[in-house]
Amino acid sequence: MPNSDLYEAIQRVAAQYPVRRSAIMPALHLAQEKYGWLPPEAFEEVGDALDLTPAYCQAVASFYDMYHLEPVGRHMIEVCTNISCALVGAQQVLEAFERELGVSAGETTDDGEFTLRTIECLGGCGWATVVSVDHRYREPVKPQDVPAIIEELRDAAPPTAEEDRDRGA
C-alpha cells in the first residue's frame, strides 16, 4: 500500500541503486523488521514498492536463511555448530539452550518469546562457541553461561519502535 512507512523506507533504499530491483534484499530486511517475519502481505508490500510480483519476492526470500517464512519468537538465538565451534563443544552449548528453554533446535517456545536454532559458521571461530542473540554475537559462550543469557533476555524490555527503526538496513 503506497505511502506506508515501509513503502517510503524502501523507496529511500532503492534510490541508492542504479537498478531498483537490487533493493529487494534490504526491502525484505525492512519488511521483516516490521512484521517479525515475512507473511504474505510483506511480499505484497515489497513487490508493490519495487514493481515486482509478490511471488518473485517470495522466491528470492526463500533462498536466504535470514528471512523467516514463518513466525519466529521475539528473541532469536542462533548457535553456531560448524566445525570450529563443534570441535570445542558447540553441541553442549546447544543442549544447554535446549534444556533451559525446553525446546529443540529449530523450535519456538510456547510463549512465543524464543526461537532456538543452529546456524552455519558465523565467523567468530577463534572465540568459539559463537552464539548470535538477536543478531548480536556473544563469544565465547560456555554451557554454564546459558542460564544467565536467558535470564537477561527474559528481563529485557521489548525493543522500542525507535530501536527497531535504528536497526533498519
Partner: protein
C-alpha cells in the same frame, strides 16, 4: 552498542602488521585516530597519480587475492576495459560475504580498521574508473555493518568519499549491501546475482565479471582484505610491498586460527611463516594438553594436513606442493579426540545445506556424500560404500559452474586418503571406534531448519543406498 569480540591475543612472537597495525592501541574506527597513524594519506597520494600508475603499482606489488582463489589482484584489474573504451559504467564490488567455515578475518578488519577498507575502496574505484562501489557484507555481520556505515559517514563528511573527493574532480559513491545468509553468495557471480536482487545462484563463465559483471557492466570483485591492503601498497609502493613475504606470496595475511588451540584469534603474519609457528608460537599450541592430529590450513573447503606436515610454510606455492590450498587463510586445528568420519560428515552437511541447487553433481552429490558418511559413522556401511563415497567426490570435482561442490568433495576425499584406517575401522567394527569420546560426537547440523515447514519432507529418506 555492539558487543566487541575479545581483544586480540598477545603473542610471544612479533606479528607483521600492516592492516591491523595500531588496531590494539587505538580505536581506528574513528577517523581522527586512523588519520593520526597516516590514514587517508595513500588516498591523497593516489588522487595525484594517473589511474594506470596505480594499477601498475598493484601489479608490481604481486598481491594475490585474499578471498580464497588467490588470483593476482593487479592482473584481475587489467582485464577491465579502460573507462573511455566502454559505454557502460565500471563497478567495484567488495566481497565482504565472509562465510567459509573457520574464517573471521574480514570481520576483524571491518570491526577494527573499517577506514582501511573505505580508503582502499575509494583508491581502487578511482584506479579502475568506477564511480560506484558496492560492499556486499554478509547479513549476520550486523555490528560490522553498523561500524562500516558509521565510518563511511565520517569519511563522507570529511570529503574522502562522495562527490568531488578532496576537490580532485573524482567522485566515488559507496553502497553497503547486506546479504541475508547464503554461503554461496561469497562466490563472485552468485554475489552479483544477489546484488542484482535475485536468488544467489552462480552464473556460467565466461563472460567473466571484468567484462560483464553487475548489471552486465565491467566489474572488479575483490575480497575485503585485498582491498583494505591497497592503501598500504600505495603508501609504500608496489615494489617495496612485494619484498614482504616470499617468492610467489607477497605481503602479509591475516590468518584466522581456531579449533583445539590455546589462543584462537586473528594473527597478521608475513606470508611464508611456518604453519607450526602460527599454531605454537602465536596460538599457544594444542589446548587441554592434547595431541595434534590434523590441520585444515585454508578454510573447511581445502584438503587436510596431517600432524607431520605442519612445518609447511604459509604461502600459496608451499601449500600447493603438499596438495592443499592457503584458501581463505583459516587455520583449523584438530586434536586427537576428533573422529575424522564425523568431521567429514559435518563438512559435507554444510556444503549440502549451502548448495544452491543449480548444478546436479553438487546438489545431488553432496546429499549422497552425507548419506554415505552417515552410514559409515553408524557402522552400517559396506566396503563398497567407501569406494562409492570417493567415486561421488570424483564425479563432483570440476563438473559444476562454481567450486562449491568441489569444496565438499576435496576435503572429504583428503580425510579418507590421510585417515583411511579410521574410515576402515568404522566399516570393519560396525561402529564408530571413538564411541562417545569424539569431540564431535552428537554434532548438530542445521540442515534446512530455516525451512521448518519443509522439514517433514526433508527428513524422509529419499532413497536407501544399495
Amino acid at each position: 552498542m555492539p558487543l566487541l569480540p575479545p581483544p586480540r591475543r598477545i603473542a610471544t612472537v612479533a606479528l607483521r602488521e600492516l592492516l591491523l597495525a595500531h588496531a590494539d592501541e587505538r580505536d581506528l574506527t574513528k577517523l581522527s585516530e586512523y588519520e593520526a597513524v597516516g590514514g587517508y594519506s595513500s588516498l591523497r597520494k593516489a588522487l595525484g597519480m594517473e589511474r594506470q600508475t596505480i594499477l601498475d603499482e598493484l601489479l608490481a606489488s604481486q598481491i594475490k587475492g585474499r578471498g580464497g582463489a588467490g588470483f593476482p589482484m593487479g592482473r584481475k584489474a587489467s582485464f577491465l576495459p579502460k573507462p573511455g573504451d566502454t559505454p557502460k559504467p565500471i563497478y567495484l564490488t567488495v566481497n565482504a560475504d565472509e562465510s567459509e567455515p573457520g574464517t573471521f578475518k574480514d570481520r576483524e578488519i571491518m570491526f577494527r580498521a573499517p577506514h582501511a577498507l573505505v580508503e582502499g575502496t575509494v583508491i581502487t574505484s578511482y584506479a579502475i574508473g568506477a564511480d560506484t562501489a558496492f560492499i556486499y557484507i554478509r547479513g549476520e555481520y550486523y555490528s560490522e555493518f553498523e561500524i562500516l556505515r558509521a565510518a563511511l559517514e565520517e569519511a563522507r563528511e570529511r570529503g574522502f568519499v562522495g562527490e568531488d573527493i578532496l576537490r580532485s574532480g573524482t567522485s566515488v559513491t559507496i553502497v553497503v549491501h547486506r546479504g541475508a545468509g547464503a554461503y554461496i553468495c561469497g562466490e563472485e557471480t552468485a554475489l552479483l546475482e544477489s546484488l542484482e536482487g535475485k536468488r544467489g545462484q552462480p552464473r556460467s563463465k565466461p563472460p567473466f565479471p571484468a567484462i560483464s559483471g553487475v548489471y552486465a557492466s565491467p566489474t572488479l570483485i575483490n575480497n575485503v582484505e585485498t582491498v583494505a591492503t591497497v592503501p598500504a601498497i600505495i603508501g609504500t609502493g608496489g615494489e617495496q610491498y612485494a619484498k614482504i613475504g616470499v617468492e610467489g606470496s607477497a605481503g602479509t595475511r591475516v590468518f584466522s586460527l581456531s579449533g583445539n588451540v590455546v589462543r584462537g584469534g586473528n594473527y597478521e603474519l608475513e606470508l611464508g611463516t611456518p604453519l607450526a609457528e602460527l599454531i605454537y608460537s602465536h596460538g599457544g599450541g594444542i589446548a587441554d594438553g592434547r595431541v595434534l592430529k590434523a590441520v585444515i590450513p585454508g578454510g573447511s573447503s581445502v584438503p587436510v594436513l596431517a600432524a607431520n606436515e605442519i612445518n609447511t610454510p604459509l604461502d600459496f606455492d608451499a601449500m600447493a606442493n603438499v596438495g592443499t590450498f592457503l584458501g581463505s587463510g583459516a587455520v583449523i586445528v584438530i586434536d586427537d579426540r576428533a573422529c575424522m568420519v564425523q568431521l567429514g560428515l559435518r563438512v559435507a552437511q554444510f556444503y549440502q545445506h549451502e548448495s544452491c541447487g543449480k548444478c546436479t553433481p553438487c546438489r545431488e552429490g553432496t546429499r549422497w556424500m552425507v548419506q554415505i558418511l552417515k552410514k559409515i559413522e553408524d557402522g552400517r556401511a559396506s566396503q563398497g560404500e567407501l569406494d562409492l563415497l570417493l567415486n561421488v567426490c570424483d564425479r563432483i570435482l570440476g563438473n559444476c559452474l562454481c567450486p562449491l561442490g568441489d569444496a565438499a568433495a576435496m576435503p572429504v576425499a583428503s580425510y579418507v586418503a590421510k585417515f583411511r584406517d579410521e574410515y576402515q575401522r568404522h566399516i570393519d567394527e560396525g561402529r564408530c571406534p571413538f564411541g562417545g569420546e569424539s569431540s564431535l560426537e552428537g554434532l548438530f547440523a542445521p540442515v534446512d531448519q530455516h525451512h521448518a515447514h519443509l522439514r517433514a519432507q526433508i527428513e524422509v529418506p529419499v532413497h536407501e543406498l544399495a
